[in-house]
């Protein structure tokens, strides 16, 4: 991310050299934390949730890493019935399944070439106020 110009560059200071100069590090950025592979990272937004899925809300942002090899228990992005959907990948011995996040059918996709996984969801960014709405 490009930061607006700042006057706080210690090299610009007149008078004594700041003692902090040798200890400078770049400020933390959430990009560094959630994006491991920028070229393969895309974003999605949840537009429709299942009522059973308390943890997720419309407007939650998904960080999707396309090049990551999907593993057991990963949240993955698939395209079905004209829309992108987030599913849980289950790999049990030699069979591969897509499980819904709420109630619903588990689908066996073993050997089905036309089911494409469009990426692995690596982070979900959520407003804290939505999280507090969850009553159990």
């Amino acid at each position: 991310m490009i930061k607006p110009p700042s006057n706080k560059n210690p090299n610009d200071a007149t008078g004594f050299v700041s003692p902090t100069q040798d200890y400078l590090e770049t400020r933390l950025s959430i990009d560094d934390y959630v994006i491991k592979n920028p070229n393969a990272t895309y974003f999605g937004i949840i537009k429709q949730t299942n009522d059973d899925v308390f943890e997720l809300h419309c407007g939650d942002v998904l960080v999707i890493e396309r090049s990551r090899r999907p593993m057991h228990d990963n949240l993955v992005l698939v395209f079905a019935e004209g829309e992108f959907r987030m599913k849980k990948l289950r790999i049990i011995i030699d069979r591969v399944y897509l499980a819904p996040l709420g109630a619903g059918k588990v689908i066996d996709i073993t050997g089905q070439e036309d089911t494409v996984i469009h990426g692995v969801v690596t982070y979900i960014i959520q407003k804290a106020e939505n999280f507090c709405n969850v009553l159990r």
């Binding site: 991310m1 490009i2 607006p4 110009p5 592979n37 070229n39 393969a40 895309y42 974003f43 999605g44 937004i45 949840i46 537009k47 429709q48 949730t49 299942n50 899925v53 997720l56 942002v61 998904l62 396309r66 090049s67 992005l77 395209f79 004209g82 829309e83 992108f84 959907r85 987030m86 819904p100 996040l101 709420g102 494409v116 469009h118």
Partner: protein, 423 residues
């Protein structure tokens, strides 16, 4: 045939624009897809299905309604294609430090020569990696010269689904050249192609076995170079640094015909801002500025007017403020009321590196102040999105804006456009 130490590898995105659209809308799979030029003028890109349907480059949609009806149509979304292209090029950089980005969808790298198996492995690794990172399909051609890499790439597209072809032996070279029509050879223009075909030379192979003297006599130096390259003698070097541009032109046809000076001024102010931004990005300054405008020459029912004016700037500059000042003055001098204008443009030329600008004795402007203001402007615009901070002259109703009725989302550069997901 001569095989050197170095090998060139050309990666090319298959049907780049339609493929980018399909990544973010997988429902397009199996459909013919066409992408239209700015202002939705004509077809500039097609996927394989659209090619099979018989749609040609440059076709005008309303002239082929029956074919177009069967297609998914998109206005060009250069923001998206540019970002996807960057991702592809960055991925290719993982494979070699010597990279030449040749166009939005083509990229050369240079690697050490290895055995054929290793080169095939390299090619398919590049292909797989780009597919994983971007979802885009590419073809890879590898050969001892850049032209042979290009030929191998063309041939790779024919030998689907591998999409990789390596010229590392005389047999492989001849096979690829025999499969390539003379018109498809890089650097051979239509005129030369016609003449060669008239002489019975229809494939790249037949051209490559021609007597070099004949080529020298009948074709330009470009033809000779191609002949040598096709025979495995490298003549074209990697261009890792882009040569300094001679000029920068920003011009577009308006979305609809414009009549008034304020409307025209707004368009020109925006074009000049684009030129200035490009100058600053390249670290250059312009010495000359041209503004041109014209009416629609095909509208014979309307009165016609076309004109252009160039001035030498008092000092070389890349400041939006200064360039806009002169461009608007030029436009005012060019503008005649009573015409319907179709197009205007701004060309900056006489480009010099920023640091070699000559200081004048009595400067009309404070360069340092301008350069600081422009730096801030560029930062704000890159931070908050293009066009967030503009000159007042650029603001208005954007009557000149492009028609782009069927543009897909800026899926990778705009939060409001990211893909929608259901749970």
């Amino acid at each position: 045939m001569f095989f050197g130490e170095q090998t060139y590898c050309l990666t090319d995105i298959n049907n780049c624009y339609p493929s980018c659209e399909a990544v973010f809308d997988p429902s397009l799979k199996g459909w013919p897809v066409v992408v239209l030029s700015n202002n939705d003028g004509c077809v500039i890109a097609r996927n394989q299905e659209a090619k099979d349907l018989g749609i040609k480059m440059g076709d005008v949609p309303h002239l082929i309604p029956d074919l177009i009806k069967q297609c998914k149509i998109f206005s060009s979304n250069y923001t998206l294609y540019g970002d996807m292209s960057d991702r592809v090029m960055n991925t290719i950089r993982e494979f070699s430090p010597e990279v030449e980005v040749y166009s939005v969808d083509e990229c050369f790298i240079r690697v050490n020569r290895q055995d054929t198996f290793m080169l095939y492995f390299l090619g398919s690794s590049i292909k797989e990696r780009i597919k994983a990172v971007t979802g885009l399909p590419v073809s890879v051609g590898i050969g001892p010269t850049k032209t042979l890499a290009k030929m191998a790439n063309k041939y790779a597209k024919k030998v689907k689904p591998i999409g990789v072809y390596v010229i590392n032996s005389e047999d492989a070279r001849i096979e690829a050249l025999k499969g390539c029509e003379i018109g498809d050879v890089w650097g051979i223009g239509q005129q030369h192609a016609k003449r060669l075909i008239a002489n019975g030379i229809t494939t790249a192979y037949e051209f490559s076995v021609l007597n070099l003297e004949w080529v020298r006599k009948n074709m330009t130096v470009v033809g000779v170079r191609m002949h040598q390259e096709l025979n495995g003698h490298p003549c074209l070097e990697m261009k890792e640094t882009v040569a300094t541009k001679q000029n920068i032109c920003t011009s577009r046809s308006f979305g609809k015909l414009l009549e008034t000076l304020p409307d025209m001024s707004e368009a020109v102010a925006n074009y000049v801002a684009t030129c200035a931004r490009k100058l600053r990005k390249d670290g250059t300054c312009a010495n000359m500025l041209q503004v041109f405008l014209h009416t629609n020459p095909y509208r014979t029912d309307l009165s016609q007017y076309a004109n252009s004016k160039t001035i030498a700037l008092p000092e070389a500059t890349n400041s939006t403020i200064e360039l806009a000042h002169y461009a608007l003055a030029l436009l005012k001098a060019l503008y005649r009321p009573g015409y319907k204008y179709m197009k205007a443009g701004v060309i900056v030329s006489g480009l010099i590196p920023e640091h070699s600008r000559q200081e004048v004795l009595f400067p009309k402007m404070n360069h340092e102040k301008h350069s600081k203001a422009m730096k801030a402007l560029d930062l704000l615009n890159s931070h908050f999105g293009a066009g967030s901070v503009r000159m007042a002259s650029m603001a208005g109703h954007r009557k000149y804006a492009l028609r782009a009725g069927m543009k897909s989302g800026h899926y990778t550069t705009k939060w409001s456009d990211i893909i929608k997901v259901s749970v």
